[in-house]
Subunit: 571 residues, 2 copies
């Protein structure tokens, strides 16, 4: 192959592909240059004046290295990796560091393998980070457990790029043996460890970093960013759907610039489709005053360096021909996208087959119930008339705990006609029959039940409703469809659902029809009273996350995050 | 091990070693910080306030990451790797990218293995680059040949770090199959390729780089440096004994800074001992106006990034505890040097045993002659009275070609009493019996013969003299001592020599006594008339190098470098 590269580079033979008359970004000197870019096979072979078997006129366009997303959970889009690629590749992203944390919590290593395999169908380099925290907490039943030994075994796989965000910093800094083993295994395999260390600083941060953690995407303050960079971390500038810290870019200086990279972490399909991916981050960063060349270097060369992706992130000979030709460095509208030397998207549309889907049996039908549920399963017997009820604080993820007055009838708390709803978390992985039960105040929903199989991070079934029968029906329907979202209307008896067949988290369908149906279902939930300050279904998805204050509900019961212990609903 | 790191990082246990009250360079933000540096085992675990089992007071000192020499031939010091380390480690260098090109040209892979093995005796990380050009040219007989297949086999060895400077750029850009195979083998093994591309630019440079070459240490002009960096290369700032390009630092900007690294390439023992190693480069760069923080970052983090030496080149948790405490960022006098967590040098003196020497049989006794030489072997019969004579241009490596009038007697050219000397290159590896013969004008030496077994790059015996008998004696003595330098005095019959027992290139002795004896021998040569504008012996060492203009002599004959062909001595 080198012979072909050299001959084309020296213009003794035509290149396979030439981007003609381009302005292009030289990330190494931070300047815009003019010329043709010659490509042979998957590599750039030269810049200058070239002719090619295929030529693309880039007059008036600026060619950049393909963008690298430093940290993303594909599952948050509710799309398959193939469909996800069909949305982000046309935006200019050609490499992602993907942490399949959600699907692996449901399906174990089959989840990782699935994402790796599905990604091979599309022109996007998906570097798989082995999720480090499966389950995320010991306070719920997950679909899989990856302990130190499992990590040790699986981190060696060729298709595993590194170890995913190490959220269990208490485990590391308190020297839990099994937790340390995970980090040790990653180092033994020579693989990178991504971090997740919100507000950790000082000697605790030293302890965390002494385990060899490379990155953080959670920091937001100047002090935190400066300390983390100064202690050797790369810091992500995050542009997710709910969590963003584009403001981190304010703290970029000439000296620390190479330690900033971009990521999206969690981004919904609607945002990907309507606003974009890293192109949208670049657009906003530049609008906020960041030098566009610096912004692009963060999204390309810096990420390549951080993740040791040699020969990637630059427009130069022998670099991977991952390129995006944009209208300008303000709007970043991608006219052409080249992946590994092939034109794969034009004018925002993919040129690759987006209909192929990898659908292995072991990520389908992942909703397992010990037996069909009945109304009796949702009876909630309280000792007295005072109970703890969960609320959601403004912002959507932190919950509150309120003491409420309740009445009961036949040993079951009455919620109909009150501002309370029953909340239930039904274990769906291991046939334990576990059902955690609680009360929720102020969601607004009335006349039936809502249910969803996305429930961070173990993804059991979360149900909310004012009717035991409807809640049982909702759970049973979710099992029937293999996961997704459901609404049961007690009055009409109707059941409406949206299937998320892949692990109960993602759909194998195309983004467009999924979104249409999803919107309709969400509107139906609002029409049944859900307070519009909530996301009708997705606000439910965080009610199990027993690491975020204050009160949470898992399949094992009500959990007081501040006391870090289970708690009694009776006050 | 992580448990120990974490506990010390969090101050729950004492660190093994603490550098107290230091100013230290945070290379990631380019700032000097204050604090203690805690070390456990071979790693830094934290910065802040620490106490340790061992403590070193660094009040008033500035702690930097250990320096990384990006490209060096240890052989040029004429010292063993152990003795070389004893000179450079106390200067603050803790890692070198070593290309054992010379010893491998003599001994083949045994040369590489020797350098790797010897380096294990000393606290210096020696990353071995497999020499890519053995022999450097096909116009002489070398001790070994590493063709594409040999490179393919050996590059996979764990102890081989990458492929050494690819001097054979004509081979690459003209697509010589065997040459390309070498580069392909390096990529297949995932290893870095160092470059060597003086004045190559434009499409030829594209062709060279399309082979995946990473670095260049030969460039000197602004245009060349900018082009090379812009095309993805790292550029070395070189501080050798004869070849230097510290001026390259003038072209560092905020944007391209991360692509500059430091190296020494070839540096003599005397310079190492008297002036220093990279500390001397830093001193001079700063004296010339380079920002000291930038200079140190080039010598540390940048080199680590270039050579993919993860967790090296910074003062931060989990980074290798390679540290140098200097008096200030002007003089760079190293007070303490820490290698992999151990104090290994203090006040410029090594604290490690420098007497251990690895001396495998296969790098000793490397001077092989078919039979003892006699005066008759140096008879030079010319056809007429005009012949080509070699001269040395000012500067020492480029040679000239002058037509001279000669007289002969008994079929042998007369040099005695003229300003001509006989020059001979005696093949010493393969028992071919080859002797290349020529004339040299203007060296000044009279009354015997000089000889040396350092003769770039195949290292045959180079002899110069005005007496056939003395030349024969010189060659025979070099065989006897296993290589080195020799002077034969025809008048007194005395033979004086200095042994370079390792491959005929390096000595197994200590630097101090070697230098003393070497100086004495050199003075003896000058006393016999050698023009003081030459280096008495080392100027001979480049007379065989058939890639540098104009006229050279190899064991196969007189070579016209400009015509790139052998040439007749008769005019």
């Amino acid at each position: 192959m080198l012979e072909k590269y050299v001959k084309a580079a020296r213009r003794l033979e035509k290149a396979d592909l030439v981007l003609k008359n381009a302005d292009y970004l030289d990330v190494f000197t931070g300047t815009i240059k003019k010329g043709d870019i010659a490509v042979v096979g998957e590599k750039i072979v030269g810049t200058g004046e070239y002719s090619g078997k295929q030529e693309i006129d880039c007059t008036g366009l600026t060619v950049l290295p393909g963008y690298i997303d430093g940290h993303v959970h594909i599952e948050s889009s509710q799309l398959s990796p193939e469909e996800f690629a069909s949305l982000i590749v046309p935006r200019g992203t050609t490499t992602i560091i993907a942490d399949p944390h959600e699907i692996t919590n449901v399906c174990g290593m089959a989840g990782c393998e699935y994402v790796a395999k599905a990604s091979q169908n599309v022109p996007l380099d998906v570097k798989i980070q082995l999720p480090s925290c499966v389950p995320a907490t010991p306070f719920e039943t997950s679909g899989a457990v990856l302990n130190g030994k499992d990590i040790e075994k699986n981190i060696k796989n060729d298709y595993i790029f590194g170890l995913g965000e190490f959220m269990n910093y208490p485990g590391l800094i308190n020297c839990d043996t099994d937790t340390l083993k995970k980090a040790e295994a990653a180092h033994a395999a020579g693989k990178v460890i991504d971090g997740h260390a919100p507000a950790i600083s000082g000697y605790d941060l030293n302890g965390y970093l002494a385990c060899g953690v490379s990155t953080d995407h959670e920091c937001v303050t100047k002090e935190e960013i400066e300390e983390k960079i100064s202690k050797g971390m790369y810091v992500h500038i995050r542009h997710g759907s709910s969590t963003q810290n584009l403001g981190n870019a304010k703290f970029i200086t000439d000296k620390n610039m190479r330690r900033f990279i971009l990521c999206t972490d969690d981004r919904h399909a609607a945002d990907l489709k309507e606003k974009g991916h890293l192109d949208d981050a670049l657009r906003k960063l530049v609008a906020n005053g960041l030098d566009p060349v610096t912004a692009v270097i963060c999204a390309t060369l810096n990420a390549a360096e951080c993740y040791n992706l040699k020969w990637r992130g630059g427009v130069a000979p022998f670099y991977l021909a991952d390129l995006v030709a944009v209208d300008n460095l303000k709007n970043f509208n991608a006219k052409y996208v080249i992946k590994s030397g092939k034109l794969v998207a034009k004018d925002g549309k993919p040129l690759f087959d987006t209909s192929k889907r990898c659908l292995p049996a072991n990520v389908l039908n992942t909703v397992h119930l010990k037996k069909p549920l009945t109304a009796g399963d949702f009876v909630l017997t309280l000792k007295g008339t005072k109970a703890k009820a969960m609320t959601i604080e403004p912002g959507g993820v932190v919950t509150g705990c309120e003491t409420v007055e309740v009445q009961s009838r036949n040993g079951d708390v009455i919620v109909k006609g009150t501002d309370l709803l029953k909340l239930a978390v039904v274990e769906r992985h291991k046939l334990t029959g576990n059902i955690g039960k609680g009360l929720f105040k102020g969601y607004g929903f009335k006349g039936g039940a809502l249910g969803i199989t996305i429930a961070h991070d173990s993804h059991n079934i979360i149900l909310m409703g004012d009717d035991n029968e409807a809640m049982a029906k909702a759970a049973n329907r979710l099992k029937e469809i293999g996961g997704g979202m459901v609404i049961v209307n007690s009055q009409t008896g109707e059941i409406h659902s949206l299937t998320l067949d892949i692990g109960g988290l993602m759909s194998s369908r195309d983004a467009e029809s999924l979104q249409r149906d999803s919107k309709a279902l969400i509107e139906r939930a609002y029409s049944m009273g859900v307070n519009r300050s909530f996301e009708a279904f997705m606000s439910l998805a965080f009610l199990s996350l027993a690491v975020i204050p204050k009160l949470k509900l898992t399949d094992a019961g009500l959990f007081d995050v501040e006391k870090f212990a289970f708690t009694d609903i009776n006050v």
